[in-house]
Each structure stands twice: as structure tokens, then as C-alpha cells.
């Protein structure tokens, strides 16, 4: 078993906006692209051109429908490690390879000490861990730990690759431990929620629900168009106006 550090003030994580996510997979592929050559790489692909290609992805998009008929909603749901405050994947680890950083709460795996026993992936209720069958170790989202503090990158680029690349601005990165941070305020304003809070792992990442849809009568403030009597003679009198060109 691995113990957790005292909960740090700083809790880095992602806020994912389900109102604007169009399920385009930009975040997932850009993540794979960055990380396969990063400090967690490679993100191995088995049988990549074969009948059953299967690779390591730190971020996956699930698209599904909720509800029935006209009331149904198509949901695009990106899912990666939620960097829980109380991550069972860490406490279950027999070697201490799975750990939560004291400085910022990021949950990581030390490849030097991971023995590939997969207990953590069984423990994670979100299915966020990815086993590298080729390398024999567990891998996962690092919040791009090799980007966010990287002094070789411009400051503006020190965000996770998924956030940097998202074309729909549906991904936000910041300190969710600080109630005054932009991401915390966004969560407060938009009613951000925890994924499966009943499980008790206290995920750091938050999801923003879809905004109220404007799809009913009066939703934009428009009232029904007026009924204008057409002149009985069929002449288009309302067009008979003096308008200068």
C-alpha cells in the first residue's frame, strides 16, 4: 500500500466543458502525440496496422446518447485521469510507484518502480489508467508534467497539450485548490460537477454541464411574426415606398 501525502493547497487539474465539446478527438490525439515522445513515452501501439490495433491513450473520448427521441442528447465525453484527492489507484499500489505529488496533487506513476501488476487499474473507478503491454508498466495522464513546468517552453505553452490544442476551448487547466483561480470561478459560475462523487475519490478534474438550450418558443426573445393583411387587390403596396439607392 502506498500512502498519500498531506493534501496540498495547490490542486492542478482540468475543467472540461460539455457545452462546447464536439467530440473531435483533437485533445486525445494531440495528447498521444506529445506524450509518446515525452517523459512517459512511448505510448505504444500494438498491431497498429493490423486486425486489432490497440494503443496506449491517456485521454479517450466517449460519445453516447442520453434520453430518447427528440429529447435525446448526444454527449461527447472526454475522459482522462481526474487526479483525485483520494486516489485509490495510489493507495492500492504495492510498490509506491503510483503516487500523488505533494506540491500540486498530480497523480503520477514512477516507471522505475512500477511492476505492472495492474492493481491500480482495477482500483480506478474511471478506467483512466492505461497498461503498456509492450513496456510492462502502467501509464496515465500526467497533466503533461513535462510541459507545465518546462522552462524550455514559453510560459504561454506551459499547459497540457490537450488544453493547448482544443479548438472549441472546451478544456481549461489551473489550480482547483484556489477558489480565486480562473478555473475555480468557472466551475462556480457554470455549476461544474464531479464525476461519480458517490464513489468518494474526490476527483480534482471537473466537468461543466451543457448550458440551457434555446429551443423553445420565446427562447431568444422573439415573439410570433405579426400577421399583416395583404391588400385585396394583390398589389404589393408595402413595397411601394420611396427608398433612395
Amino acid at each position: 500500500m502506498t500512502s498519500l501525502p498531506p493534501l496540498a493547497q495547490k490542486q492542478l487539474g482540468l475543467v472540461i466543458d460539455l457545452d462546447t465539446c464536439v467530440g473531435c478527438h483533437a485533445c486525445a490525439v494531440n495528447c498521444k502525440e506529445w506524450n509518446t515522445g515525452g517523459t512517459s513515452g512511448p505510448l505504444t501501439d500494438l498491431d497498429p496496422y493490423g486486425a486489432d490495433a490497440a494503443g496506449v491513450w491517456f485521454n479517450r473520448i466517449h460519445s453516447f446518447e442520453a434520453g430518447e427521441g427528440d429529447a435525446s442528447r448526444t454527449v461527447h465525453f472526454p475522459k482522462s485521469c481526474l487526479h483525485c484527492a483520494e486516489p485509490a489507484c495510489v493507495t492500492v499500489c504495492p510498490t509506491g510507484a503510483s503516487y500523488k505529488r505533494a506540491e500540486d496533487g498530480i497523480v503520477l506513476i514512477n516507471p522505475e518502480t512500477c511492476i505492472g501488476c495492474k492493481l491500480c487499474s482495477w482500483a480506478c473507478p474511471y478506467g483512466a489508467r492505461e497498461y503498456d503491454y509492450d513496456g510492462g508498466t502502467m501509464k496515465k495522464c500526467t497533466l503533461c508534467i513535462d510541459r507545465i513546468y518546462n522552462e524550455n517552453l514559453e510560459e504561454i505553452d506551459r499547459v497540457p497539450a490537450c488544453v493547448s490544442t482544443c479548438p472549441a476551448s472546451a478544456r481549461h487547466f489551473g489550480d482547483l485548490g484556489d477558489p480565486e483561480s480562473k478555473v475555480s470561478k468557472l466551475v462556480a459560475e457554470r455549476g461544474g460537477f464531479d464525476l461519480m462523487p458517490e464513489m468518494g475519490y474526490k476527483p480534482t478534474n471537473k466537468y461543466l454541464p451543457p448550458r440551457q438550450r434555446q429551443n423553445s418558443s420565446g427562447c431568444t426573445g422573439a415573439s410570433a411574426l405579426p400577421v399583416v393583411e395583404q391588400s385585396a387587390d394583390g398589389l404589393l403596396g408595402w413595397l411601394d415606398r420611396i427608398l433612395s439607392r
Binding site: S40, V75, G96, N110, T113, I156, P167, L225, L239, S244
Partner: protein
């Protein structure tokens, strides 16, 4: 267990070098930064400074590494040694390949240049390829627009002197109401995603009109699951409601459109419905101030919009707007009628119309920007109608697509929502005169051995005299473009080339030269039949299409059907978005492509690149070549952007500052107002010819097709295929959608993207399918009038109940792309293309009528109707399953494990803590 905390390697070096270029994984063309490490690609990211994507990058662009290092890359020219289609090749050197191509093409050019058919697929650099075809002297040239969205482009260019996507886009920052019609999200990919996010942030309303609730429709405020091919009826009913409530922008119509132009009212005469013109050819209107008929282009008039007037020659004439209002006020355009056609309730149509009017007129924007109009008059502010519309292939790929796209532009004009704050806004070099003043080259006497064409092969006809037809009315182009089958075929008919070359109609060709278009597979109708045509022989044993040259970067399905294969580059091996011709192109430019880019001048001062012209790089748009131009582009991240001054940004069709700028840039010849065309007179000219007027008339068999569909005001009619089948026999509409991770087919087949979309299913409405006894993963036969496929179904809620759909171009032929022959793309993936015919079902003895839009010739592949029956597929294999292709020489099967990045990965820990 408590261990010493690991010390992560937080600042590993990222790359040795960063190059900027343009992504060409799709036609969106985002700016990218490519990180290189140890000579390999470490990472590709969006370029924040680039105006298109502003730093973001889509899933496909992010998979560029896998595209570039694909095991399906062709590395050397290939010469066919076995039978065509057998896939037997030998590698040859470039010198031999170019020698052979030159030998074939030289003979053709010197004997009969039209016997070269040059079709460039999705190439976006027609400035070069069109010019090349023109210099060669063949009219038989086009890109893939005839398959994709020529209806959208043509309708726009003839109506508003621009269109969507490359021509203009919604004002994402200011619009209040946005409607997107049909499959449109791939043109263009990232700007639309970014724009939708802006709309949502501001609380603007987004309406998706699409039979399928896919990616972007999923986040729309309102989804209108319209029946395919009925959008035109919906739009015209909205117009009906706006007219009934008198909610149209009369000021805008008077000033900026041809609403007041007089049309001759003389039914049965040769110029009925044409614009009244004076002796100088000036269009006319009736001025209410002087009470006289006068030039409609004068500024100092108050033209009548209704009534009837007597022309100098005694004939009667009526303003365009009168015709329009009478047409669409008719109860045949009522929401109730449209509801029967579209499946959208009359109540909803009325509500959408009211919301459009509310956004346009009650939420009017007024910007305090002083500007000067075309006539030199000062205005203190700019009025905006914050309604924006976007559409592309979805409404375009129908046989009524041109008129539907026209209807959309008429709606925009009636709302005054063209190039205003919050509306659709043009992108340079648009607007241009509607239509552009280039006519297609290749008329009788214009094609001669060894001679260039006098004009480009593609242009914009404005009447029968511009057609490329023989004396007997038959077409002169191999694809039938600019014939009576497709008079305004501004992008050609790529889907007819192979079929016509095979049939020898209207003549046999020598060489079919294709590139960047998988025309033996997903870029054809009738894919299996197309493969047979490519291999068909004459009685003497020779091939019906004697030579086929094909250029592709990959081992695609079409490779097996060519005689000579020229391996293409990927976008990461060249400086721009162009393809095959990124090579030395002749003596005029000994420095090759770079020399051409910087020094070629199409007209004095006008070249390929607009930035940093002039010998010292100080000129924009026009100016003499700059020897350092490419260096300046490279320094700037490989793009050039010019921001219009505020007073030139709106009403560009009538804005003096803009029009003067456009002349200076070489976009337009004169700073004249570009009058938007509610009523498109060229259509009436073709219709008059079909009614028996003039010297150039359609052949009898096509007379009705032209007469009935060339209406100068938009119409809706049932798509052709549906007119000719029994709906009860083929009860479902069948269409394709494009997955966001694979916008545009090319470059999609790679190790990462195939893990996201490796196989497709036929999606059906759950209630409909359940009533038929179908459940998820059931195997079904899907049958059209033309053919049958077998595939699996997947049930869903968010699809019109009479529509089935699948992702486009996921299915691959077994063995192609260096995939395992048992890959899911071949085993479970499929194409709808097999079900689509180039021609319509026979009716009343009419055979061979094109399955295309009658105006533009756009392939009507979204008109498809099918029936669906549960079946068994014992082998678990979609059908048809064409024989497995074998690999070209020296193409190796890939390793079973891909560890991309391993060699360049930095250590995880900063210090060893063991």
C-alpha cells in the same frame, strides 16, 4: 509504504529545431509548428500567430506524424508490369518515369491535347494546376469540386460574388443567430469549432439543420432533423413567412441587390425575363423621383420595387423584387406545405422565421465606424444584421443543390445579412463580380495541337454562347462539363471522367492523369464498377483508357489501376499546400518550385504569393517579384496576413475603401459596386434557350431538364433519384457524414486515427429499426436501384426517422494502405459509393440522364435511396469484398509493435532515486 518522492524531469528539452509550415491534413490549412528532434518529428502543434487556427490543432492534424511515417508511403516511381488491377509493378527511377510521362503527354499535346484528362482531386492550388492544363491545351481539367460542393460555390458566386468557407465565414464575434445546414463542419474544421465556442460563450443561438445529430449538431441549441434534400423547401417557407410579415430589409435590397432591376415581361418572347437594358447595355429600373425608366446603377435614384413599367420600346417590365415576393408569398411555399416535405413542423418553421427576423431587426448592431460607399457618400455608422449562415456539402450534394444553395443566399439578402457586423462576412479576395468574368476555354476552334487554350478550362458561363458544345449540341469535354447536361459546371464533373473515358463519350482519350484523389475507391460513384472500367479492354486487347498516370503519396486503392505511379510528397516535405507539381516545372523557372513561387507572374505584378512583393518587400498584393520573398514568409511563420482598416471591413461589395483596395490588390479590375443578385439572369438565358429561343439550344432529350430547373429565382423540387424510384421500394434516405477526426479522406488512414474510426456501421433511427426487428450489430442488406452492400447496423436516437447514414471513406479495400488484409476497415468497413450510380434509373425511355445537379453537374450522391433487410453474413464480412490487393515491390509489412517516440523520449526522473 512511504518512499522518498521521485524527482520528475520537469524541464526536458523539447526539440532541436522548430519549423513552421501549413498543415495539409485537410483543406482547413492551419498554421503549424513542427518540432524536430534527432531529425525526426517530435511534435506538431498549432501556430498561435496564424490567423486560421490561432494555435489550436485538430485530431487529424495532430496525427500528422503517423501520416508522414506511414508504412503505406510510396517511395519510388512504379511501372505496371502485369495486367491493370493486378497490382504488379516494378520500381523505376524518376528519370525513366518522367521520360515516359513526357513521351505520352508530348504525343497527345502535339496531336490532340484534349485527349489528356487531368483531374487533380482535392488539390487546392488551381492557380497552378489550372494554368498547367491551359498551357497544355486541354479543356479536360478539374479538381474534385464537382463531387464535393460546386453547388454551394457556384450558387454563391453567381448570387453574392462569394460563398462560404474559403470565400467568407460567419462573424463569430458578433452574430446573435447562427444556422448551419447539412454536413458542413469539415469546411473549415478548426475555425468553426472555435466559432461555435464563441457563440455559446455569448449566448447566441445555434441551430443545426441536419438529418443527423453528429459532432457539431450535438452542441446546437436546436436540432432540426430535416429529411435529406428538402432543405430548399424549408428555406423557401421561412422566406414565405418573412414576406408575409413584411420582415425584410428593403433599404439593403434597394442599395445592394438587383431587387429594383427591371425584368422584361413578354411571355413567349426571346428576352422574356431578361433584364431591361438601354442602348448602352445598362440595366434599368424605374426611378420614383423622376418618374422614368433609367439606369439601375445610378446613386441618385429611388427605384421602384413593385409595379409594372413601360420601357422605351413599349414593352412592359417588372422589378425583380415584385417577381420574388409574388413567387414566395404563394401558399405553395407555406410552412404547412414545407412541413409535409421536410418533416419539420409548420410551428417550428414559423418560430425559426420569427427568431431570424428578431435577431436581424430587433437585435440590429450599429458600429460607430464612418465609411464611404461606392458612390462616394459618407455614412456615420455601420448597420449589422447579426444572423449568420453556413452550409457546405450537405445541401450541396443533391440534384436540387444549386437551387437550395441559391435559396440560402436569397434568405441572407432579404435579411440584409451579407457582409455586415454579425452576419456572413467575405474573406479576401471576395467579393468578386457575380459571376466572375472568366469564361471556360475549349470552345470550337480553341483546342489545337501544340497550343495553349486562350482561357482557363474552368470559368463562369453567363449564357449558351459560353458552353463548350459542338454544333449538334453535344459536349466537348470528357466529363460533360459546360454541356447541356451541366451548363454551369464551374468545377467540372470528376465523377463522370472515368465512366466517359471508358465509354469513349464524347471521344476516346489517350491519358488519364489523376492525383490526390482516390478515384478507384471513395472518390467515385459506383466504386466497383469504376474499377472494372479502368481495366476494361477493347476488342483488340488494348485498354479502353490507354494510359493512366497517378500520383499519390500512399498505396491507396487507385494505385493498382494505374500504369505509371509518381510518388507524392506529404505536406511535411514541402513548403506549401501543393502536391505533385512541387517539383521543377520547366525551363521558365530553372530554380524549380521556389523560383516559380517567387518569380512567376500571371499578370504584371501579380504572382503566387501576395505578401512582401516589390524588390524590397514593401508592397502588398501587387508588385514586382521580390528575390527574398520566401525568406520573408519563412521568417514570419510561413504565412502573410493583411488586416483591412476598420472602414473597409464591412459592406465590402459597396464600400469604396474596400473596392479601391481590391483593385490595388488585383482582386477586381474596377472599383465598381458588386451588386448582389437575387435574380440570376444567366439561368434565364439558358431557360430561354431550352424554350426554343436563340441559335444555341439544348438537344431535345435535355430540353425539359434545362427548362424546368434553370429558374432565375430559387425553386425546390424532389431530388431526381426519388422522382424515379418507388418510395415504398426504397423507403430510406442514405447519406454520409464526416467524422471530426478525419475531416477530408486523404491522410486519414494512419495508425492513430484508425484506432478511433477503424470500421463503420450503418446508423438507423432506433424506433424505426426496432419496428423492423433490428438490433445493434445486426447484419443487413442495403439495396439501391443500382446495387447492394452488406453491413452492420447501429441504432441511435439522433437521426431523422427515414434516414440512414454512415461515416464517409472509412471502409478500405483489403490489402490497400499496407493494412492487414483482415483489418476492420476491410472486414467491417464499407462504402455507400457502391450503391450510387452515375446515371439515374430509366424513366419513360430516358436512359443515361446524369445523377447530378442539372445546373452545375454536381454529383448528387446524397440523393441515394435504399431499402434495408436483415440478413446473415456468415463470414462476418461486409460486402462487396473486392479481392485483396498485394503490396507494391519493396513495401514492407509494418512491425507488430509501434513505439513511436521511444528513441527521442527523455528520462522520466531527473535524478535516480533508486
Amino acid at each position: 509504504m512511504k518512499l522518498q518522492a521521485p524527482i520528475e524531469n520537469l524541464s526536458p528539452p523539447v526539440s532541436d529545431e522548430v519549423k513552421t509550415t501549413t498543415c495539409y491534413m485537410c483543406a482547413c490549412r492551419c498554421g503549424i509548428k513542427v518540432h524536430l528532434k534527432d531529425g525526426a518529428i517530435r511534435y506538431i502543434e498549432g501556430n498561435r500567430a496564424h490567423p486560421v487556427n490561432k494555435g489550436v490543432l485538430c485530431g487529424k492534424g495532430s496525427a500528422g506524424i503517423m501520416n508522414h511515417y506511414s508504412p503505406a508511403r510510396l517511395s519510388k516511381p512504379l511501372l505496371r508490369v502485369g495486367e491493370r488491377g493486378a497490382g504488379e509493378f516494378k520500381e523505376i527511377e524518376w528519370d525513366e518515369a518522367m521520360g515516359l510521362a513526357t513521351q505520352w503527354l508530348d504525343k497527345t499535346r502535339n496531336e490532340d491535347p484534349r485527349k489528356l484528362a487531368f483531374f487533380t482531386g482535392r488539390d487546392q492550388s488551381q492557380a497552378l494546376t489550372g494554368w498547367w492544363a491551359q498551357q497544355f491545351g486541354t479543356p479536360n481539367y478539374a479538381a474534385h469540386g464537382g463531387f464535393c460542393s460546386v453547388n454551394m460555390a457556384s450558387a454563391g458566386l453567381y448570387s453574392i460574388g462569394g460563398s462560404f468557407w474559403e470565400f467568407g465565414e460567419p462573424d463569430w464575434d458578433q452574430t446573435r443567430y447562427f444556422m448551419m445546414f447539412g454536413v458542413a463542419e469539415d469546411h473549415d474544421s478548426n475555425p468553426i469549432k472555435a466559432g461555435l465556442a464563441k457563440l455559446k460563450e455569448r449566448g447566441a443561438k445555434y441551430v443545426a439543420v441536419n438529418p443527423v445529430k453528429t459532432a457539431y449538431a450535438a452542441i446546437a441549441d436546436e436540432w432540426l432533423g430535416v429529411r435529406p434534400g428538402t432543405d430548399g423547401a424549408l428555406i423557401l417557407a421561412i422566406i414565405h413567412e418573412l414576406l408575409k410579415a413584411q420582415k425584410i430589409d428593403l433599404d439593403f435590397l434597394v442599395r445592394y441587390t438587383n431587387a429594383p432591376w427591371l425584368t422584361i415581361h413578354a411571355p413567349g418572347s426571346a428576352d422574356h425575363g431578361l433584364f431591361a437594358r438601354d442602348a448602352d447595355g445598362q440595366v434599368q429600373c424605374f426611378d420614383q423621383m423622376s418618374k422614368s425608366v433609367t439606369s439601375a446603377l445610378r446613386a441618385d435614384i429611388a427605384p421602384a420595387l413593385t409595379g409594372e413599367f413601360t420601357l422605351a420600346d413599349g414593352r412592359m417590365a417588372r422589378p425583380v423584387l415584385r417577381l420574388l415576393v409574388e413567387r414566395y408569398l404563394d401558399p405553395s411555399h407555406s410552412p404547412e406545405k414545407a412541413a409535409e416535405i421536410t418533416g419539420i413542423s409548420a410551428e417550428t418553421i414559423r418560430r425559426i422565421a420569427s427568431e431570424l427576423a428578431h435577431a436581424a431587426f430587433e437585435q440590429q448592431i450599429e458600429l460607430p465606424i464612418a465609411w464611404t460607399d461606392w458612390a462616394g457618400r459618407q455614412h456615420e455608422s455601420i448597420i449589422g444584421r447579426p444572423v449568420a449562415i453556413h452550409a457546405m456539402r450537405g445541401i450541396s450534394a443533391h440534384s436540387n443543390g444549386f437551387q437550395t444553395c441559391r435559396a440560402l443566399h436569397v434568405l441572407q439578402m432579404l435579411l440584409g445579412a451579407i457582409d455586415t457586423p454579425g452576419a456572413f462576412r467575405y474573406k479576401s479576395p471576395y467579393p468578386r463580380p457575380a459571376p466572375i468574368g472568366v469564361r471556360p476555354g475549349g470552345k470550337i476552334g480553341e483546342v489545337a495541337p501544340g497550343k495553349p487554350l486562350p482561357r482557363p478550362p474552368l470559368g463562369f458561363p453567363i449564357g449558351p454562347e459560353d458552353l463548350l458544345v459542338e454544333q449538334d449540341g453535344s459536349g466537348r469535354r470528357i466529363d460533360g462539363a459546360y454541356s447541356w447536361q451541366a451548363p454551369m459546371a464551374n468545377h467540372g464533373l470528376m465523377h463522370m471522367v472515368i465512366r466517359n473515358a471508358w465509354a469513349g463519350e464524347p471521344y476516346e482519350i489517350d491519358t488519364l492523369f489523376m492525383f490526390m484523389s482516390n478515384m478507384a475507391w471513395n472518390s467515385s460513384m459506383n466504386s466497383a464498377g469504376t474499377a472494372e472500367m479502368l481495366t476494361a479492354k477493347k476488342a483488340d486487347g488494348s485498354y479502353r483508357i490507354p494510359h493512366i498516370i497517378y500520383s499519390d503519396a500512399f498505396f491507396s486503392e487507385t494505385v493498382a489501376y494505374a500504369d505509371l505511379i509518381l510518388p507524392d510528397t506529404t505536406y511535411l516535405e514541402r513548403w506549401d499546400c501543393i502536391s505533385l507539381l512541387d517539383r521543377p516545372i520547366g525551363n521558365a523557372h530553372p530554380g524549380g518550385y521556389a523560383d516559380y513561387l517567387a518569380n512567376h507572374q500571371r499578370a504584371p505584378g501579380i504572382g503566387m504569393l501576395a505578401g512582401w512583393r516589390g524588390t524590397d518587400g514593401s508592397k502588398a498584393g501587387t508588385g514586382e517579384p521580390n528575390p527574398n520573398q520566401l525568406e520573408r514568409y519563412i521568417e514570419n511563420g510561413c504565412f502573410w496576413k493583411y488586416e483591412l482598416p476598420h472602414n473597409a471591413q464591412y459592406y465590402k461589395h459597396a464600400n469604396k475603401a474596400y473596392l479601391d483596395h481590391a483593385v490595388q490588390m488585383g482582386f477586381i479590375a474596377k472599383p465598381d459596386q458588386i451588386v448582389l443578385q437575387l435574380y440570376v439572369e444567366p439561368l434565364q438565358k439558358f431557360r430561354l434557350a431550352a424554350e426554343g429561343h436563340g441559335a444555341i439550344q439544348p438537344p431535345e432529350a435535355l430540353r425539359a431538364r434545362v427548362r424546368d430547373h434553370f429558374d432565375p429565382l430559387p425553386i425546390w423540387y424532389r431530388p431526381f433519384e426519388q422522382q424515379r424510384i418507388e418510395e415504398s421500394e426504397f423507403p430510406f434516405y442514405a447519406i454520409t457524414q464526416r467524422p471530426a477526426a478525419m475531416y477530408h479522406a486523404w491522410g486519414s488512414q494512419n495508425a492513430w486515427l484508425r484506432q478511433i474510426h477503424g470500421a463503420n456501421r450503418l446508423h438507423m433511427n432506433r424506433a424505426t429499426a426496432t419496428a423492423m426487428g433490428l438490433v445493434d450489430e445486426d447484419w443487413v442488406n442495403v439495396t439501391s436501384h443500382h446495387g447492394q452492400i452488406t453491413c452492420q447496423v447501429k441504432l441511435m436516437e439522433g437521426v431523422n426517422d427515414r434516414t440512414v447514414w454512415t461515416w464517409n471513406a472509412i471502409g478500405k479495400r483489403s490489402g490497400a494502405w499496407n493494412l492487414d488484409p483482415d483489418a476492420p476497415e476491410a472486414r467491417l468497413g464499407f462504402l455507400l459509393n457502391h450503391l450510387i450510380s452515375e446515371t439515374l434509373p430509366e424513366q419513360d425511355g430516358n436512359r443515361g440522364d446524369l445523377n447530378s445537379d442539372p445546373v452545375t453537374g454536381q454529383a448528387a450522391w446524397y440523393d441515394l435511396r435504399v431499402r434495408i433487410e436483415k440478413t446473415q453474413a456468415p463470414a462476418g464480412q461486409t460486402l462487396p469484398a473486392l479481392p485483396t490487393l498485394h503490396l507494391p515491390p519493396n513495401m514492407k509489412r509494418p512491425e507488430k509493435v509501434l513505439r513511436y517516440g521511444k528513441a527521442m523520449a527523455e528520462p522520466y526522473l531527473k535524478e535516480d532515486v533508486k
